[in-house]
Amino acid sequence: MPETINTGDTAWTLMAAALVMFMTIGLGVFYAGLVRAKNSLNTFMMCVAALAVVTVSWALIGYSLAFGDGSGFVGNFDYVALKDVGFEPYGEQTVPHVVFFAFQATFCILTAALVSGAVVERMRFLPYLGFIALWSILVYPIMAHWVFGGGFLAENGTLDFAGGVPVEMGSGFTALAAALVVGRRMDYGRRAHLLPHSTPLVLLGAGILWFGWFGFNGGSGIGTNQNGVLAFVNTLLTPAVCLLTWFALDLIRGRKVTAVGAATAIIVGCVGITPAGGFVSPGWAMALGVIVAIPSYLLIVWRPRTRVDETLDVLAAHGISGFVGILFIGFVAQADWNGISDGLLYGESALLGDQALAALVAPLYAFGATFVLLKLMSLAFRLRVTEHEEAIGLDVTQHGEEAYVTGEGAILIEPGEADHRGQEVVAGATA
């Protein structure tokens, strides 16, 4: 190992990468619980698919576009297929470059999986795979370059600790565009808003996400430095306060504290502290828990009354909370805690402008680029299943499996018969 490598930093970054990788599975559990039983496997598989597709696209090209030197807008092709990504650290870091690559890969995977929440219960599986492959090359790495890879926002002084720009606003506004292009479910508005088939799964998934978020935020210092450990602690504080705030909002609105609401609050809190984690004091992190809850709560209540079927509210949970978190830094960042800059309340007004710029360009790019990408894809492919397949459910029609098989009446088919019977898969599914 090169002498600049710090073993403690490396150990923690390796662990953090594993934690973030597990968030994608946690997200699968969360999303699967939120949809109807007949679509739960397909929904889970959309997250699992991100682990397959995006890991490859990130290794081949995405990482280079995000972290190659390049221009202020996008990286270059220096690291294509991990060329020159070895043990020598990236920039000033103290961990091997290849470890940093893996850690960042888990972010892109999770962000692509997040987007699936906007199109569940209706999008065909193969076009979805194509979409996340292209999206993880054309959209995410560019936004990651802006804040993490020395792009124009980083040059400008915008602070984004763990990905308020590429991950949270990136996924949220991408989700809105995807929901608009793919279109609403056929029974949306009449019967289907949100019909969670397993609320315990929803809570378990949210719990896994919160657990993983300690790696997501805590690991984003790329080591056990002050910013990293501060973000780790703040990842405990903000979601807890957000959860409590959500209880209060639920009580005011419906006189009952809801479980799906609690799961949502955990995520909103984690998202809010994502950009701010390493830059604000623990006290302000707790205040953020209150502030971040309110706009997301209002959007979640209002959105189902519109005609936009952004099914699992990725915009409200991620886009808006990320937006709030990014702006929040501009007000309450403290150089005493982060060692970089003060916010408006501590006498510096410049930072707020830099944060506002990020909060403006990130939604515009994520929405615009995704909208164009999916529109172009829709010219070449049918993005949605047929109405009939949508009625039967995507588990059977896309995967030929069910989440909850009873087993009665199942007849084993010998291997030799499989090809012959395979034809009936299609017939059976549409009969």
């Binding site: 009625a391 459910g393 009665e408 009446g409 199942a410 007849i411 088919i413 009936e424 898969v425």
Partner: protein, 117 residues
Amino acid sequence: MKLVIGIVRPEKTNDVLEALYRAEVRGLSISRVQGHGGELEPVQTYRGTTVQMALSDKVRFDIAVSDEFVQPTIDALCSGAQTGEVGDGKIFVVPLERAIRIRTGEKDHGAVTPVGA
């Protein structure tokens, strides 16, 4: 007084409920059942095991109605559940000897007529 039993595709359940509501048929029970009616059997694969699902999921409606409601109930079940493919289900109409509303002890016609109708 008849008991109308309708066995329909699960994915058409909501359409049937809507059609019954339009026909002003209010009292009903549903249950999830599995059965076979000659349709092609879907094949599912779990790891190397390929199985043919000989029983399909269906939803069963049990609707007790007075005589004048028998035909509207049948029409609603047909219009809501029909796709034209094998596997749309069946309707059975059987005579009903007695019906009693537990809350009030009302019998027969009174018991199968919804409150307020």
